[in-house]
Point group: C2
Chain length 235, copies 2
């Protein structure tokens, strides 16, 4: 059975689109049972509708506190067949901190994507904060969600170059391209039950006919390293 | 004239060795006028002697405060012909925080290497802290030094994969290989006067017959990105 998932969005939903695309391409063995947005005009809702996926807008402003809002989301997910322990909750640009009400309803089954190489630049301006800091490498992170923002065990990361003086608006799209690749991959690993969490460490179990997370100590740089700015001749 | 540098070490000095090697290979246009260690037994001192480089051991314990210790280092560097604005101070595993006494003597000419992708994991256990956190990508950073530890403007960074469950002792050598490549490169850019600092942003100016720090927005992922664990088929 495909992994039953609910996708939570707050905005444009391009990560939602990448998940839909990978499912339709047959690479991602999941079924989106419900897309929830906390904002009425979120284009993510429109994307879901175009693909015949059930949608729900729940404004957090209609609830007295975070817990009540999370309870309403959990009830909706349950109603649509997304339940623990099989179901999973995918936060795809969902700009709300979730509470134990949601986390306890889906233990170890809530994942998030963040547009920075955590633990650098958590929060809602990951791309801009990285650009402002002047890092030469930034990226994105898919992680299990815990009660702290952008904090849980890391599943996969991607690193990209940052150029001196560029702003978050320029860096963001480059990171987003990688988000669209690593997020569906992480969900597929979840669907295959290949993610084993040991404290803060997420081990990727061997998959049938798939690559293995091997020790890399002997691998020489250029292949498995990203250096920015690029090394010049002689270095 | 080759860039006159003083190299500060506290330990094994393998980064010092990489600088010596690149100078001897003719790739790095610098001359090490003095190697200073704050620890008597540091193997870095032995490495310098083997290459006929003047050395000095100054124990910080012999000085009443950081400023007095820095003053002694500055005096020694001046005596050996490392002076502003041409000279530069290279912190290569130097485990002391420096003060304005040293920084003001070499404005914009003090650089450091750190074994993590700053601003993640500053401090003296960069490799172990990254491994413990469970990141999938870590690396190293060369940066200008300011009064805050591991904080100044970033010159170059390198990212490497981290495997689930490995410790700092396993990750460290993989990062160190990249340190040995990016640190001499950064010093060469300094020697060529190609580093232009604008606030926190370090611009790499075009070099004769060398690559340029180009906007990368149009570059497609696999070439200029590092993803870990690796993407599998279909992603």
């Amino acid at each position: 059975m495909p992994l039953p998932i609910a996708v939570l969005v707050s905005g444009g939903g391009s990560n939602l689109q990448s998940i839909i695309d990978r499912i339709e391409q047959g690479a991602l063995d999941a079924e989106i049972r419900l897309v929830i947005s906390n904002k009425a005009g979120a284009y993510g809702i429109e994307r879901a509708r175009k693909h015949g996926i059930p949608t729900l807008v729940l404004s957090h402003k209609d609830y007295p506190n975070r817990e009540a809002f999370d309870k309403a989301m959990v009830d909706a997910m349950h109603k649509h067949g997304v339940t623990a322990p099989e179901g999973a909750v995918i936060m795809a640009g969902f700009m709300r901190i979730v509470t134990p009400v949601l986390l306890d309803a889906f233990p170890g089954r809530v994942i998030n994507i963040h547009p920075a190489l955590l633990p650098s630049f958590p929060g809602i301006h990951g791309q801009g904060d990285a650009a402002d800091y002047g890092v030469k490498i930034s990226g994105c992170t898919v992680h299990f969600v815990d009660e702290k923002m952008d904090h849980g065990p890391v599943i996969i990361q991607a690193a990209v170059p940052v150029n001196a003086g560029e702003d978050g608006g320029h860096l963001g799209p480059r990171i987003l391209k990688l988000e669209h690749r690593i997020f569906p991959q992480a969900i597929q690993w979840l669907a295959e039950n290949r993610l084993q969490v040991d404290g803060r460490h997420v081990h990727l179990k061997v998959g049938p006919e798939r690559q293995v997370d091997q020790p890399m100590a002997d691998v020489e740089p250029p292949v498995h390293a990203l250096v920015w700015p690029p090394l010049e001749e002689g270095f």
